[in-house]
Point group: C2
Chain length 177, copies 2
């Protein structure tokens, strides 16, 4: 990402693209997978301040319906910036936000939402419904399917491994003498 300027020998300004931040969200998602959660990661990026909040899915471990990656990222961003309006902030998340998270994005006035894989059964940004087209008081810009294939593959691999583990558990192992 960083290139050295030939004349001065200094590092040039880093170019942080949507793909870079989505990669960061995917790394966070892999941390969620490591603790047995569905791999979803989220990053909130301020226009000038950079990353101001991160989050991973922790619903099963913390036994709480609210602990989605986006909610954790918005929560930590509000704490970092010291206010509930996340002006000039973009949210990167590996999976299409559910209605709760889409609502939280509207409430926190996030400027742009960039997501990876589509959630066909529960997505509220284009799959089941388009929350941001409804006449609420804030309309974030939507950039869908950034690194979508990779995010989908990450989720598929997790569920494949989960099914394997469950099958192994179900199989009868005769007692050894």
């Amino acid at each position: 990402m960083a290139k050295t300027d030939e004349k001065s020998g200094c590092l040039q300004t880093l170019k942080f693209t949507d793909e870079f931040y989505m990669g960061l969200a995917m790394y966070l998602a892999s941390l969620a997978a490591n603790i047995g959660e569905v791999p979803v990661g989220a990053v909130v990026v301020h226009r000038t301040k950079g990353v101001v909040g991160t989050g991973i899915n922790r619903r099963e471990i913390l036994k709480n319906a609210l602990y989605h990656a986006e909610i954790e990222a918005i929560d930590s961003s509000c704490k970092t910036l010291g206010g509930w309006r996340l002006f000039e902030c973009d949210l990167y998340v590996t999976l299409e936000p559910c209605p709760m998270c889409a609502g939280a994005i509207i409430n926190s006035r996030i400027r742009r939402v960039i997501f990876g894989a589509y959630d066909v059964k529960g997505g509220a940004c284009s799959s089941v419904m388009s929350m941001f087209d409804m006449p609420f008081n804030h309309k974030p810009v939507l950039s869908p399917y950034i690194l979508g294939d990779k995010c989908s593959a990450q989720l598929s691999e997790f569920f494949k491994a989960l099914r394997k583990t469950k099958k192994r558990r179900r199989r009868y192992i005769p007692p050894t003498e």
Copy 2:
């Protein structure tokens, strides 16, 4: 609420109606008003265990877009019951839930939602949209406008008082010598 049985002299079983729990939510809303927040209160009631979670609006004080009364009530209920599925639980709230809170209600599998006043500009349960009619994986039963007049009056009074305070602040007071 409690009546004494004439024969035995014992207290009869208490009758906890929707109006009773909405009254409790209104009391919590008044606590929010006392700390300068928009008066919204919420109560989660389990079928057999009674009140398992309560919440008040604290968005301004905690400077966080997520701290709505319903979210606080669902959060505390998950902690009380030790799981993210709030089966056999009903949520009472003095104002129609916003999209974030309606999404959280779907995610936590709440059985029934009882709200007071309509939120014409931001309500996601019938005013701006009907979240529970969308094809998500859970559909709570909706009971709107329970003690609606009283909940509306509570909100109107708060905003009336707020406007008065602002006017008083704006008025020029000449310096005394």
